[in-house]
Symmetry: C4
Amino acid sequence: MRVSPSNDSESGMTTHRIEALTDGIFAIAMTLLVLTLDLPEATKQMTQAGLDQLLLEQIPKFSNYVLSFILLAIFWIVHHQQSHFIKLTDHRHLWLNMLILMFVALIPFSTSLTGDYPDDWLARFFFGANMFAIGILFELNWVYATKNHRLVDPSLGRQRIVMGEKRGAVTPLVSLLAMGLSLVHAPLSSYGYILIPIILSLPQFRSRSR
Amino acid sequence: MRVSPSNDSESGMTTHRIEALTDGIFAIAMTLLVLTLDLPEATKQMTQAGLDQLLLEQIPKFSNYVLSFILLAIFWIVHHQQSHFIKLTDHRHLWLNMLILMFVALIPFSTSLTGDYPDDWLARFFFGANMFAIGILFELNWVYATKNHRLVDPSLGRQRIVMGEKRGAVTPLVSLLAMGLSLVHAPLSSYGYILIPIILSLPQFRSRSR
Amino acid sequence: MRVSPSNDSESGMTTHRIEALTDGIFAIAMTLLVLTLDLPEATKQMTQAGLDQLLLEQIPKFSNYVLSFILLAIFWIVHHQQSHFIKLTDHRHLWLNMLILMFVALIPFSTSLTGDYPDDWLARFFFGANMFAIGILFELNWVYATKNHRLVDPSLGRQRIVMGEKRGAVTPLVSLLAMGLSLVHAPLSSYGYILIPIILSLPQFRSRSR
Amino acid sequence: MRVSPSNDSESGMTTHRIEALTDGIFAIAMTLLVLTLDLPEATKQMTQAGLDQLLLEQIPKFSNYVLSFILLAIFWIVHHQQSHFIKLTDHRHLWLNMLILMFVALIPFSTSLTGDYPDDWLARFFFGANMFAIGILFELNWVYATKNHRLVDPSLGRQRIVMGEKRGAVTPLVSLLAMGLSLVHAPLSSYGYILIPIILSLPQFRSRSR
């Protein structure tokens, strides 16, 4: 599909609108995660001990829920940090956003996959690919918007732009690492993502000035 | 149900409100699409190869997800382009919007249908009818709002109005084509929708001036 | 739970906030309706004719979907007409709204009930009770807010207030009728609701002046 | 994850944005509760009496739905009361909010748990722990924001701050009580939560002045 930044058919589109849709999709994806915690059917004949066992077996699914919720929260914060600086929109930017939203809406499915098939490398690999797609699209979005100050304020400093690129590289790189780990040891791979908030809170990855 | 454009019972209704509801319904429909990717129950006895096979069989469902997400994104953009120009609302316009939302909310079901019964003509035909309904209602909405500049700014140019009609005719016509294809060869029919973004990005279908 | 209109613990609450929550819940309830259209599992051995038969059997569920969507749309319009005039909020008004939202969020369940047990009087009766609850709460909300112009603009005319009461009585009365019909002939009862939009569009139920 | 209140990487974050996400997540969690009312499959051979019996057995699930909806409404009101006074945000506050939202999004699951395993202490205990987590995080949020007037208006009075702390302690304390009750008598535990609205409406727990 040919797209053009000067295509004025989106002239009526404001970043405000895209943000409303984005907040909606993030809120729903975060809440739908809870559907990944579906319980296996308990039978009436089950003993109390059997039932407790059943509930305790859900703990790995629960930790998947927490992981995905935190990753979604991080992505939401990234989106808002970017959109704080991005004042304009065009056809390409709009569709980059739509692609991001498509992969964000996919997270409940990827999470459900790793919960249902915890030892399967393909499930973990798919989850990693989903995170990689979101991370790389956010990076592309930032690079596209800041290139020649295309969609950002002309006064936005070089340092801020570079810091955005540096921070934006963290998620795709960690996701690639986790995808690699999934080939070696599936359950281990999910621990890799803990690196994302750790790295992003390192002093080198924090803006120095307002 | 008798409706009247001069019915002032909607006097409290602003286009802003309809937009908030619309953004919500689009966001949810886009995210509920993910529920169409439900996996068949895997049994504990399954081998790794069997599991991989199971996951790979989901690829057609995944491409249905992508197709429906992109169509919803296109419809959302059309809605916002129209509502950029439509400054007023009345009873008829309100209910046209409600009908559009009813068919938008139906897309996750239609998508699920084509995913579960990929070779069934009726499933594909229903999906096409859903898209046709949305397309023709958007076209009606535009024609109704721009007729004698009923709900748009008096300064809105004839060229813009005609361009809107031309662009609005693309989805219903392509959907009719896809519905026809579904009678001949069901899986083929879903490729038809790729024509929508292609045609809409042709120079003849793009506004020349702001 | 004791509530008091002068309880200033809600002093931070604006009608704007309640509206945002309301729009969200309406949008989600309208979209979740689609989950009531779940298809019975088709088996791989099914013939094309068997599959077509299965899909065609869903038509009553589809008409339930349309009915509930339209009722939700009517309720949403009522909410916005009321909130156009209601400028203030207090503890009681806030909780009346919460109760309305609780029964609005219940509609996908009630719809699913009538779809799954089409010939059961209890399912139809429950659906009617759900609609009655929403209707009567909206009526109470209007009476409470307009009593001595408690939460509305002092300039709001008597005629408008009475018209709001008259319109607000339509849904509870029609729902009572439909609940009665469900005791006699279950499937017939759902046709009763068609009276709601018909009556509301009668000239006697339309405001005469802006 | 190291966090710092002076981390300016959230400089683009406004409380308005967090509120939009929050309203979305509350609206969805409230509406998803309805999915906890899923009916057991009725068989075609069922008699009318058997069907009625099946529906009437859902009453305890329905009362769980009402309880959870009301608790969510109370939490939403607490959130808005707090955010009415909290004018600023920082990294810690943002993540406290995200944790609150994570446990709010979990309520449909906890509700479903108590509905599916009504006599199981672990299900009731988990529900109580969920409520406790939300309550204690709201309390922490208030204490953090008001400490040295960190994120609130400097003019906010001591009395208001203390009242907020007092009100904020109700939910965690009642939840601890209910968790204790669940060890003794599971179904009884859910009645404990009725104390929350009762205590919050006592004169001692209501602000005296605007």
